[in-house]
């Protein structure tokens, strides 16, 4: 094992066990380390982006036990035992895009792509809660994420399309649609 600088463990670190993208993981972190930083640095899951560090832009959004949360506003120690899904967990081998990811590509829902992981995660959580959203619901549902490139045109179209695809898939699988 390579030598660690003395500051890598100042005696205040704690172990945190959690599930990330379906895998049991363990990190050793200072209590003040944010979940976003721990995901990015300790687990090398750099798809979760940090855009404002004060909980407004939504770039760092991940799923925690199925709910969209801002990983810049959580400390890693707060998620002990939780089930975290990052954008990397939506398409684990890069081959099969999720319906939301596919729709973002087909409808030009990204340009620079920096906000995209947060949008994809937020939209995934939003559609799980609102399977047949109206346009107004989509726009309000996404208003916790900021994009500076697209003017939201392709993003709104993508979420509309993903909703339609998800609804069609549910119909085809014989499951009941939402009331």
């Amino acid at each position: 094992m390579p030598e660690l600088p003395a500051v890598a463990d100042a005696g205040t670190e704690v172990d945190v066990a959690l599930t990330v993208n379906g895998q049991p993981r363990r990190v050793r972190v200072e209590p003040r380390k944010t979940l976003a930083d721990s995901l990015r640095e300790d687990l090398r899951l750099t798809g979760t982006h940090v855009g404002c560090e004060h909980g407004v832009c939504g770039a760092c959004t991940v799923l925690m036990d199925g709910e969209a949360v801002r990983s810049c506003l959580l400390f890693a120690v707060q998620v002990r035992g939780a089930d975290i899904t990052t954008v990397e967990g939506l398409a684990p081998d890069g081959a099969a895009l999720s319906p939301v990811q596919r729709a973002f590509r087909e409808h030009h829902g990204l340009q620079c792509g920096f906000c995209t992981p947060g949008f994809v995660i937020s939209a995934t959580a939003f559609l799980a809660a609102h399977p047949q959203p109206t346009d107004t619901e989509i726009r309000e549902g996404l208003s916790g994420n900021l994009c500076r490139c697209t003017g939201y045109q392709g993003i709104v179209r993508a979420v509309r399309a993903a909703a339609a695809e998800l609804a069609a898939t549910e119909d085809a699988s014989g499951r009941k649609g939402p009331a």
């Binding site: 600088p5 003395a6 500051v7 890598a8 100042a10 003040r32 380390k33 990015r40 640095e41 090398r44 899951l45 750099t46 798809g47 982006h49 940090v50 855009g51 404002c52 560090e53 004060h54 407004v56 832009c57 770039a59 990052t86 954008v87 990397e88 939506l90 398409a91 890069g94 895009l97 990811q101 973002f104 590509r105 087909e106 030009h108 990204l110 340009q111 620079c112 792509g113 920096f114 906000c115 995209t116 992981p117 994809v120 989509i138 726009r139 309000e140 996404l142 208003s143 994420n145 900021l146 994009c147 500076r148 490139c149 697209t150 003017g151 939201y152 045109q153 392709g154 993003i155 709104v156």
Partner: protein
């Protein structure tokens, strides 16, 4: 995922094989698969072991003397490697000029504040530590005492006061465009039926890319090599800049960029923080030094934009024909603008006549002053000179109202028509392939202008405030001097894969997609065989950077030229293999065949490449082995696209809220490589303008303190504030290869006046005169309450 599954086009391909197969398609982007899955590689995703992290100590005072600066406690803190101040970092030998501006800028250059501070946020010291957390801890231990001096915040005060933003200089004027003697100019006004004057103001708003600035610099003392990874709009200018700044050879510096999370002008030129990190890396040596800007730093020190006024005086006859104009442009460029002196007036002056005839040569006069203040400096922001359109297009409506004429009608009477081309503007710009009249009519038709006027009449009778706004503009792409050229190097690899090295620095423009579309068509190769490489000074050809809406026409021109040359090279080898003349070779989907003989012998690009590299004796003496081509394209000095924006709004007179009802754009950017990407670029610019006009305002108090330093205060529009946009396209091919024109900035240039004119039109029955932004609801209510 195979590249083929990424790249399969979504729709049936038009026509047959060969030219035109990919160009013009709404091809989904080749960048997307990695970005959608979180596998992009932005600056902060580079996590080399042993990396050190930097944090800045910044001034909390707008103007003052540094009374004490003690770094000893910070240096003793856990994990701190270095704490550097001006004494360690600044050098009189540093040069700070940029290639595009040339040397001789008036703004004094320095890396860290030395002796005094000149704006809130100015970097004073840099702490380098084992982690960002520890660097920020230690930064708080740096003792900095500043004796405040009276700050210069407002441009009018800056022109009157004896206080100097830069004590080295004799005034607070950064740059001025003086009045020019134009024979007969005054007579144009004296003889006019009407002379109408108004002053329009634009507030300070800023780029705000979702990814902040960032840099990783490593100095290898053993090889004397400086390695820089930068969030940038291109790698070559930063290399030139740091070679000059540090006085070291250009080839001892390597600059790379990976994926970049937006920029809009901000990352075009490295700023003082990046300079400090480069020097820190040299001082420390061997270990990478990384700085990732936080959002507050980005908002207070990342470079600001706009905050300017344009006073316009127009001479017009009774028929609404514009005879002459004089305009004065006053800009607040802050303390340390980038590049040069931050003045946009000189560019705005050239573009002010826009899409209108005016009174011929000598009928437009434009002066400007750029003023230093103790605020964050100007940086480029999407269409930096756009005040000319913001002012001119509002003035058109003011003139129309004064003459009792409709804003559409006055534009119709003045707009340049196709049969007047080539047209030389009063500022000597020559338009050859623009279509302002066509876009005006298309936008008016798409939005249903006449019907809206009838609906508006009815709504007004009910007490509702509906308005419509138009804006016409001509968008320049500059191709002079160092901006005049881009390059492409194409290598067909031994296995027939096509690698294209571009001079560009993409940061959201979809260059990996559009340039592949061009090369695929021009060479006749399968698009899945093409890989576009950019952003590494060691392997990509020189280019000025992806900026100024230059990529489509200029980098596209280079891609065309290189692909065309490679097609001929490939045909020569294929001709040898198929024993026909190269002129008889046709290439499609990476397969060469004899023209007119689809069932005849074929040879694949892989076989051609293998012959060119590995079976060189069979090529004969007249064919050069290998398949490598470099081409550099020289663009015309000026290229122009154009558009018309039309928007309808409703103003709620109780809440002051403005609702955008419809937003229509008629754009002419020549032949479109990928219409989906064209529309995306337009949309992004408009959304930024909607933000600027209604929500975004970088506010300073009278002491020079920035007040909007988080996203809780500096409000960006969300999906809930941006409506669906509707597009019309007029296609007038340019005279450049492929017939493309740039359009990256136009969305942000034309939309503010369209929106302002719509609100103004809505409020007109109340007697409101609108000359200022930002239009927050309380501002609208104040306008309503104080009107009439």
């Amino acid at each position: 995922m195979t590249s083929d599954s990424i790249l399969t086009p979504p729709s049936q391909l038009r026509g047959g094989v060969g030219a035109g197969r990919w160009i013009g398609q709404r091809l989904p982007r080749r960048e997307d698969p990695r970005l959608i899955t979180g596998r992009g590689r932005y600056i902060d995703d580079h996590q080399e072991a042993g990396t050190l992290h930097a944090a800045f100590v910044r001034s909390s005072v707008a103007r003052g003397r540094i009374a004490a600066l003690d770094t000893s406690a910070a240096l003793a803190a856990l994990g701190v490697v270095a704490v550097l101040t001006a004494a360690d970092v600044n050098s009189p030998s540093h040069q700070f000029w940029h290639t595009v501006m040339g040397p001789g800028e008036r703004t004094p250059g320095r890396v860290l504040a030395d002796g005094d501070v000149r704006y809130v946020g100015e970097p004073v010291a840099v702490v380098v530590a084992e982690s960002r957390y520890l660097a920020e801890d230690a930064a708080e231990l740096v003792e900095l005492e500043i004796d405040p001096l009276p700050p210069v915040v407002d441009v009018r005060a800056a022109l009157r006061t004896e206080e100097r933003v830069h004590p080295e200089l004799d005034s607070n004027v950064a740059e001025a465009l003086p009045e020019m003697e134009i024979p007969g100019f005054a007579e144009r006004f004296a003889g006019a039926a009407h002379v109408i004057s108004e002053t329009f103001h634009q507030h300070r708003y800023v780029c705000v890319p979702m990814e902040t600035r960032g840099i990783i610099a490593t100095w290898d003392p053993w090889t004397q090599q400086l390695d820089i990874v930068l969030a940038a709009q291109g790698v070559h200018e930063p290399r030139l800049f740091y070679a000059r700044m540090l006085g070291i050879p250009e080839d001892s510096i390597r600059v790379r960029q990976g994926d970049v999370g937006g920029s809009f002008g901000q990352k075009m030129f490295p700023m003082r923080e990046e300079h400090a990190i480069v020097i820190a890396a040299r001082v420390i040596g061997e270990r990478p030094v990384k700085w990732i800007e936080d959002r507050i730093e980005n908002l207070i020190s990342g470079g600001h934009a706009r905050e300017e006024s344009l006073k316009i005086e127009v001479a017009v006859n009774n028929e609404g024909v514009l005879l002459a104009a004089r305009a004065h442009h006053l800009e607040n460029v802050g303390a340390y603008p980038t590049p040069g002196n931050g003045a946009n007036g000189p560019t705005a002056a050239g573009m002010f006549p826009g899409p209108y005839r005016w009174g011929g040569p000598g009928s437009v006069a434009y002066t400007s002053q750029a003023i230093y203040t103790n605020t964050c400096g100007h940086c480029a922001y999407r269409g930096p000179w756009m005040m000319e359109t913001v002012g001119r297009e509002q003035m058109m409506d003011v003139v129309a109202r004064k003459l009792g004429m409709d804003p559409l009608e006055i534009r119709r009477r003045n707009v340049i028509s196709r049969d007047e081309l080539p047209f030389t503007t009063p500022t000597t710009m020559v338009y050859e392939t623009v279509s302002p009249a066509e876009t005006l009519e298309q936008a008016a038709e798409l939005i249903g202008y006449e019907q809206f006027r009838r609906d508006q009449e009815k709504a007004r009778a009910e007490g509702r405030l509906l308005g419509i706004g138009l804006s016409l503009y001509v968008e320049p792409q500059f191709g002079f001097g160092s901006l005049g050229t881009e390059a492409a190097t194409i290598r067909v690899e031994v296995t027939g894969k096509v690698t294209v090295y571009m001079s560009t620095g993409g940061h959201g423009q979809s260059i990996e997609t559009t340039m592949a579309q061009i090369v695929a068509d021009e060479m006749g190769v399968a698009i899945s065989d093409i890989r576009i490489i950019q952003g590494d000074t060691q392997i990509t050809p020189y280019g000025a950077g992806t900026a100024g809406s230059r990529t489509g026409a200029i980098a596209g021109g280079a891609a065309h030229a290189a692909a065309h040359a490679m097609r001929e090279k490939v045909a020569a080898v294929a001709g040898r293999l198929l024993e026909v003349s190269p002129g008889d070779i046709e290439m499609a989907s990476s397969v060469a065949m004899v023209k007119g003989d689809p069932d005849g012998p074929k040879v694949t690009l892989a076989e051609i490449a293998a012959a060119a590299y590995l079976n060189t004796d069979a090529l004969g003496p007249d064919l050069e082995p290998g398949l490598e081509v470099s081409k550099r394209y020289k663009a015309p000095q000026f290229m122009f696209s154009n558009a018309c924006h039309a928007v309808t709004v409703e103003v709620d007179r109780v809440t002051g809220q403005v609702r955008i009802l419809r937003y229509v754009i008629s754009e002419d950017c020549g032949n479109m490589i990928n219409p989906m990407i064209v529309e995306g670029q337009i949309a992004g610019g408009i959304a930024q303008a909607i933000g600027g006009v209604f929500y975004e305002h970088m506010i300073y108090d009278s002491d020079g303190n920035p007040l909007t330093t988080t996203f809780m205060d500096y409000l960006l529009p969300t999906a809930a504030e941006i409506p669906d946009f509707e597009y019309g396209h007029v296609v007038t091919p340019s005279n450049t290869p492929g017939g493309y024109k740039g359009l990256g900035e136009g969305g942000a240039i034309a939309s503010p006046p369209a929106l302002l004119n719509a609100v103004s039109d809505a409020l007109a029955p109340l007697g409101v005169t609108l000359t200022e932004q930002a239009l927050s609801p309380d501002k609208i209510l104040t306008l309503i309450d104080t009107a009439g």
